[in-house]
Structures are given as C-alpha cells and as structure tokens.
C-alpha cells in the first residue's frame, strides 16, 4: 500500500512540477498544478529535536513537525493585494512584517520514556514576523507564544505553554525555530522550518 502511495505521489509531483520547465512555450499559469503541488509540499515535515527529561535522566528526541498557518495578517501589503491570508501564505506578505496563527502537528520518532508524554502533539499559537535584511527576504525573525497539546501518561497533564522564536532565510521559506516550554520535562525544542507558501 505504502509503495503505491509513494509511487503516485512521486508521479504527481514529477508530472506537475518538472515537466513545465521543458521547452513548452506556454506562459499561462496552471492553477491545478499550483494547488496540487502546494498541497504536496505541505507534506514535507520540518525535522527537529525535543527534550525528554525526568528528575534523574534527560535526552533529546528526534521529531517531525508540519507547518500549518490558518491565518496571516500582513503589515506591509500593497494596495493591490489583501493583507489577510488563509493557509496558502504569500512569502512576501509574510516576511515583510506580519502576524499569524499557526498549528504544528508534531510526532517524535520514539516514546518519551523519561517524561511520559505522548508521541503525538499539537502546537498551536501566534507569532509576529519581523523583517531584518532586504525587507525580510534575506533574514527575518519571529517571536511568539504557543500551547502544546500533548498528553502525559505519568502526570495526567494535557499540555503546556511555551515561547517560540525563529529566524528565516531565502524568502522566509527556510528557517530555524527554538522553543522554551514551561514544563520541566519538555523544557526545550529546536527545529528546522520549511514551508513553501
């Protein structure tokens, strides 16, 4: 089953992404290609690490996060475009200065054996993106707050709050994010950031 899914995925991406770079003299935009490849690109996870600790032991766990942005409000949109965007976020309106809500489903690759947290978590929060260089296209930073929904089988807790910061490059498409959680068992996490639109 999984092989079939992988083959279909690969075929779709290859057909609708690479082929248009050939010699075809067609400059009309391709909405189906756009939205299908965008959806597939959203499946690319952002890898990271997250701490797993108890009173006696500590280690870091490998994690994968997916970046979902339900809402972004730009502070620097021009008069021809909307400053408010949902899910598919134009990079220029984001990195030139904006505020956004985010959702990050997250999975760690093995169990939190010291802290007792569930492998699956859902980070939700809001952040502000501030341009630093080339109006944010070369470098932008972010600061935000978040709440992570993640069950703890040892303590019975359902989650914890945290603060997040980030630095982004190349149109804000790539970046690094750091989180300090207000929970002694999951104190820090750091991850790459990848989101295409």
């Amino acid at each position: 089953m999984i092989n079939k899914v992988v083959k279909i995925f690969f075929c779709v991406v290859f057909l609708y992404s690479g082929v248009s770079y050939s010699q075809v003299k067609d400059t009309r935009s391709k909405p189906f290609t756009k939205y299908s490849t965008w959806l597939l690109l959203q499946a690319i996870p952002s890898p990271g690490i997250i701490s797993d600790a108890n009173d006696d032991n500590a280690r870091v766990q490998f994690s994968l996060k997916w970046q979902i942005t339900p809402l972004n409000i730009s502070f620097k949109a021009n008069k021809y475009v909307s400053p408010v965007q949902f899910f598919m976020i134009n990079p220029v309106r984001r990195f030139t200065g904006s505020a956004e809500l985010f959702i990050q489903p997250e999975v760690v690759t093995s169990s939190f054996k010291y802290s007792g947290f569930d492998r699956f978590g859902l980070n939700t929060g809001a952040r502000v993106i501030i341009p630093v260089q080339e109006m944010g296209e070369n470098i932008a930073v972010s600061l935000g707050g978040k709440y992570t929904f993640r069950k703890n089988t040892f303590s019975g807790d359902n989650g914890y709050a945290g603060v997040e910061s980030g630095v982004y490059f190349i149109g804000g498409l790539f970046g690094l994010q750091f989180t300090k959680n207000f929970n002694a068992n999951n104190l820090y996490s750091a991850s790459f950031y990848f989101k295409y639109y």
Partner: protein, 324 residues
C-alpha cells in the same frame, strides 16, 4: 523511524529538488564565487542626468538600465544589491552611484524574479524620490511589499495572451504600453518554473518624438515581435541576451539566445539596440559568453544580420550613451 518513512521523505525531497533544479543549478555553480569573491569595481559617471538630451541610456549592469527621454528619467529593473537573491554574487559592482542621481520619475519592473526586482533598491529610491511612479505588470503585485511611492499596476493580459500589444496608459505625460514577453512571473523557484505565475511584460515608452522599447526578460516568438515592430517606430530597443547553452541557435524558451536576440532586434525594427542581461550573473558558464557569441554571429556575413552592424551598441558597465 522506519525505512519506509525515510523513503517517503527522500522521495518528497528529491521531487522538490527536481522541480527547482534550474534555480539550484545556478546556485550550486556559484557557491565558491558567492562566498569568496567581491564584485569587480567599475568607473561611474558623475552626472548621469543630462540637461539636454533626446534619449540617453546608462547600463548599470545585468538588466538595470537608467534611461533619460528628454526631461524624464527612469529605471528599468533597478537592482543595486551585491548578491542576487541574497546568495549569488554579482560579477561587477553596479555601474552607477545611486547618490549621484539627481532626478527619477519612474521605476519600471518587468517581472518579479530575483535578478530584476530588488526590494531594498526600490525602498532606497522611494526614500529619495517619493514622487516617482513604480510601474509593473499584473501578477507582480504578489511579489511586492507596499512601497512609499505611487504603485501603478498595468493590465497586460491582452499583450501576453492576445494581440502582443496591450492597452496604453499615460503616466505623467509618458505613454506606456505593455507588450509581449515570453516569460513567467513568480519568484521562489517552483512558482516560476512549475506554477508559471503571471507577471512578466515588455514595455514601449513614447514621449514626445522618442520611442524606447524594453523587452524585459523574454524568449523568442517571431509573430509577437514582428507585431511590436509593425506597431511602433522604435528608436532604441533594450534587449536581453542569454543566458543560453546553445547560444548560436534557438533553444531555451525562457530567454533569448544570442541568435534570437538579433532576430528579435530585426523583428522590432528599432534604430538601435543595447544588449543587456549578461555579464553580472554567472548562470551556467562565462557570463559574457552570450554577448561574445552574439557579436560573432553579427560579424558573420552568412548569418543574415549584416544590416544590424553599427546599430548594436554594446555598453560597458557604467557606460552611458546619448542619442540625439
């Protein structure tokens, strides 16, 4: 993590890699230069704005050209950054000290690619010349922040998908017509090559008795350029040459090859032509190769371009030419 999960991630990664291979190829070819080198210094004119001129053109480098038509001063695709896209080092520094510019009326953007649209450059000129007009085609608005000058979006659907010559508008006394360019919009690799986002144009500017054509970035399409040549009596055409692999024939559709640049010049029937879009960025090989091959073709009597000799004006970076 299971082996199958790793396989899935690898497939996704390489699929994205393939779809943006052109962009990555350029970056990988230039990693060394971009880290270790600096742009070559060039001589710059002290007073680029002339008191009395019909048309003047100063090549700043790559496609950036400062043009004066009588009392109107304008930029095509101003780009003064040290690096393209924050990564790709330019070969020569810009051939104009922007502080020496005493007047600017218009900034024309042909399309939003990284080597043609610089946010910090426009921001700089917006601070210095807040009354200048920023003109761009439909689609580019998606790749521009709000600048503190008047932003004017031109409808160019007709010129891109219909008659090759779009609807003219008059901006501060200058007639501006968007014309066909075989190119795409977008800015971040996949939206350029795969999504084919809209947002590319050429421009014909008419002011008093002077007509200037800027082709933007374009591939070659004979019927389109012949239509432009039949519609306007062009004095000066600014036409890109390359990048190209098979420069002496027709090939890469996004950009005119050396051969196609001359064909385009013939089609638009301009009096003079200035080649641009070479020299500053090393896309695939020697950045001057497209120009060198174009000049070889021009000099070859068997190639059919003898009538263009003497009308092709090759400028050095920072060099200014005056047509009266």
């Amino acid at each position: 993590m299971t082996l199958k999960t790793i396989k899935i991630i690898a497939y996704i990664f390489f699929s994205v890699l393939f779809s943006s291979c052109g962009y990555l190829n350029i970056m990988l070819n230039n990693v060394g230069d971009s880290i270790s080198s600096n742009p070559v210094k060039v001589d710059k004119v002290d007073n680029p704005v002339k008191d009395s001129v019909k048309i003047s053109a100063l090549w700043v480098g790559h496609s950036t050209t400062l043009v004066q038509i009588y009392d109107k001063v304008l930029f095509f695709d101003p780009f003064f950054n040290k690096r393209f896209g924050g990564l790709l080092m330019r070969q020569y520094e810009p051939g104009l000290d922007p502080e020496k510019l005493s007047k600017l009326d218009y900034i024309f953007i042909s399309h939003p690619h990284m080597d043609h649209l610089s946010f910090s450059t426009i921001d700089y000129f917006a601070d210095r010349f807040p009354k200048a007009k920023l003109v761009f085609p439909e689609g580019v608005e998606n790749y521009m922040p709000g600048f503190d000058l008047e932003m004017i979006r031109l409808e160019n659907y007709d010129s891109q998908h219909g008659d090759f010559v779009g609807k003219s508008v008059v901006i501060d006394g200058m007639k501006v017509t968007p014309v066909y360019a075989l190119h795409s919009g977008g800015r971040y690799a996949i939206d350029v090559y795969s999504w084919l986002e809209q947002g590319a144009t050429g421009y014909v500017l008419e002011y008093k008795d002077a007509v200037v054509y800027y082709a933007g970035d374009t591939g070659y399409r004979s019927d389109a350029f012949k239509k432009i040549g039949d519609t306007f009596n062009i004095d000066l055409a600014i036409i890109p040459v390359g990048p190209c692999r098979n420069c002496d024939s027709s090939s890469f559709w996004h950009h005119t090859t050396s051969f196609e640049t001359l064909k385009l010049f013939q089609d638009v029937k301009a009096k003079y032509m200035i080649p641009v879009h070479y020299g500053a960025a090393r896309y695939m090989s020697d950045p001057n190769r497209p120009l060198d091959i174009m000049m070889q073709i021009l000099e070859d009597p068997d190639k059919g371009f003898s009538d263009l000799r003497g009308r092709v004006k090759v400028l050095g970076v920072g060099e200014q030419i005056v047509f009266n």
